[in-house]
């Protein structure tokens, strides 16, 4: 599955982007199909697991992408440019929600899946679910590099370009993000918890 996604990404070459810049709806659709799951995943994890909010954010990101793609001049990688849009949209949405939330209300991660998987008894799924929740509780500056690393598979240099910071900062934030995840989920530091 991941391989297909990567191959699809390879299809987004200069000509597809050029067609998008000329308003080709079919080209937009290819672009959308290629990146929709990754963009949506980041939106879900960034919105505390609220799929409705993530739906809206993902729509806005693609609308913005389709409009602004004419301004893309190829100075950077297309994916860097796209993920910069994604990161900014997620941060904007978070700021907006913080303004609207009453004092004291938290944005703890809701369960992103409406139905819990039937196979939840399997240890690995429990781990995945716990990680989803813990990711939602991290500060955005630690959460976003983790999402870009593990959902998008970006290198440190690519993450640095997307976030507009140095590679060292990316390394440091990932380090702190990993540490915080480990501390919050320290009970998984046991092979039995992984079904091993």
């Amino acid at each position: 599955m991941e391989r297909h996604a990567r191959m699809a990404e390879q299809l987004i070459d200069g000509r597809v982007i050029e067609a998008c810049q000329q308003g080709d709806r079919e080209a937009f659709h290819i672009l959308f199909e290629t990146y929709k799951d990754k963009v949506f995943s980041i939106a879900v994890y960034s919105s505390g697991g609220d799929r409705d909010v993530a739906d809206d954010v993902t729509q806005q990101i693609f609308l913005k992408l389709f409009t602004a793609i004419r301004q893309f001049r190829g100075d950077s990688e297309f994916t860097t440019w796209l993920y910069r849009l994604v990161v900014n949209a997620c941060l904007d949405e978070r700021r907006r929600r913080r303004r609207l939330l009453p004092w004291g209300e938290t944005t703890a991660m809701k369960n992103p899946s409406e139905k819990k998987p039937q196979e939840k008894q399997f240890a690995r799924l429990e781990v995945a679910e716990a990680v989803r929740e813990a990711i939602g509780e991290l500060k955005p500056k630690f959460r976003l590099p983790i999402l870009l690393k593990y959902i998008e598979g970006l290198s440190y240099e690519e993450i640095a370009n997307v976030m507009g910071c140095s590679k060292g900062t990316v390394a440091s934030r990932l380090n702190r993000g990993h540490s915080q995840l480990a501390k919050r989920l320290s009970h998984f530091n046991n092979p039995a918890a992984w079904g091993e």
């Binding site: 000509r15 799951d37 609308l63 389709f66």
Partner: protein, 401 residues
């Protein structure tokens, strides 16, 4: 750079973002620095957890929603005092988006050229170098070099040998008549399966990054060099030449330091570790204690073993405590306490009840003796030093006077 602590580089190390030289220096530092190693274990757990983060699927209706927004010009919002400025700006932006797209849309629809791309390998392989003969990866013979992908078998016949580079963290030499498979190749887990034959590993990574599955136990590297052999029945023999290896199967674990060895048996798991310079009667008795089906034979063998035990064999006696019961456990305790007195505060009851903290404390007081260190462990070392015949020259020099 690496003479100082390396905690800031841990994630970069786990993700393969350090150069080969930096990785090696990182590993060398972390093996000798308890502080960095503790932090490494924490971050490594964080990496392992983050790797479980699933990519979610966007809802199917998303494209039609986006198309609807693209196609439907929405009326401009009526200005109202209830509207905050961000909402007005957002609405204006949406309108601009829609209008802009409509303009683009009517400019025409060029066809989309598509380009086939080569398939990307998502399972980075390990380099294999032929040492002699004709080793095979799958059914392909290696003439000079080859690559071992996840799930692939490397097999040597009676005349061939090969060396595998374990990512950036070490290498494994494969002896004749051996069959190994690459199971996992991830930054935090490098795992081989040794189905039969013999391999020698040299790993310079921090602990618990390299694993070897055998039919009767899993060998977990704790920063070391070792030889591991599996016979046709699935039994294995581990000999550690540097550092430590942990052998485990379910809840049975043996920690084996340099100079020591350990047998494993299918269905039982790891036996008790022992130093290779132990007497032959001691080793024969231990094999019976570990694997003989008859309880009376095991009990008799235990008596022989205790009679033969030296201070250095505290490694074996400490491991035996939870593996024997009743009066046998009392006998093991008394012999061990006579050879290496337990640290102050350790009670006989706590040991016999296998209190984890108590056993760990006693082990810590003995560990330096097992690995040939010993600063500050004068009491234990003086006991070890009495076994003059079993200490190497280096160990004798290091032992406190």
């Amino acid at each position: 750079m690496f003479s100082r602590h390396v905690t800031k580089q841990i994630s970069a190390y786990c993700h393969g973002e350090l150069s080969s030289e930096e990785s090696k220096q990182f590993a060398e530092h972390i093996i000798s620095c308890v502080k960095c190693r503790t932090k490494f274990e924490e971050v490594k757990l964080g990496v392992k957890l983050a790797e479980q983060l699933p990519q979610l699927s966007a809802p199917k209706h998303l494209w039609s929603d986006v198309e609807y927004l693209l196609d439907t010009p929405r009326p401009a919002p009526v200005s109202s005092p209830l509207w905050s400025w961000p909402v007005q700006v957002t609405a204006a932006a949406v309108l601009i988006v829609v209008l802009s797209f409509a303009t683009l849309w009517f400019q025409g629809k060029p066809s989309i050229p598509r380009q086939r791309v080569p398939e990307i390998s998502l399972n980075p392989s390990w380099q294999v170098t032929r040492i002699e003969g004709t080793p095979k990866i799958g059914t392909e013979q290696i003439s000079k070099n080859g690559s071992l992908g996840v799930g692939e078998w490397l097999e040597t016949d009676e005349n061939s040998r090969a060396q595998i580079a374990v990512g950036l963290i070490g290498h494994v030499e494969i002896d004749p008549n051996t069959r190994v498979r690459l199971l996992t190749n991830q930054p935090t887990e490098h795992r081989l399966e040794l189905a039969r034959g013999r391999m020698s590993a040299q790993i310079w990574a921090p602990p618990r990054l390299f694993f070897v599955d055998t039919p009767s136990a899993v060998a977990e590297d704790l920063g070391c060099a070792y030889t591991l052999e599996v016979d046709d029945h699935g039994a294995s023999f581990l000999h550690v030449t540097a550092g430590w290896v942990e052998l485990g199967l379910k809840d049975r674990t043996s920690i084996v330091p340099a100079g020591a060895a350990c047998e494993t048996q299918p269905g039982i798991g790891p036996g008790t570790p022992f130093f290779l310079d132990a007497s032959l009667p001691f080793r024969a008795a231990l094999s019976s204690v570990d694997f003989h089906h008859d309880a009376s034979v095991r009990s008799t063998s235990l008596m022989v073993l205790l009679n033969e035990a030296r201070a250095r064999d505290s490694l074996t006696l400490w491991h035996l405590l939870p593996r024997v019961y009743g009066s046998d456990r009392v006998r093991v305790y008394e012999k061990l306490a006579a050879l290496v007195p337990p640290p102050p505060g350790t009670t006989r009851e706590a040991v016999l009840q296998l209190d984890e903290k108590t056993l760990e404390g006693w082990k810590l007081s003995m560990e330096w003796g097992w690995i040939g260190g010993g600063k500050g462990k004068g009491k234990v070392w003086s006991k070890f030093a009495q076994d003059k015949d079993v200490l190497s020259e280096r160990e004798k020099k290091m032992a406190p006077k």
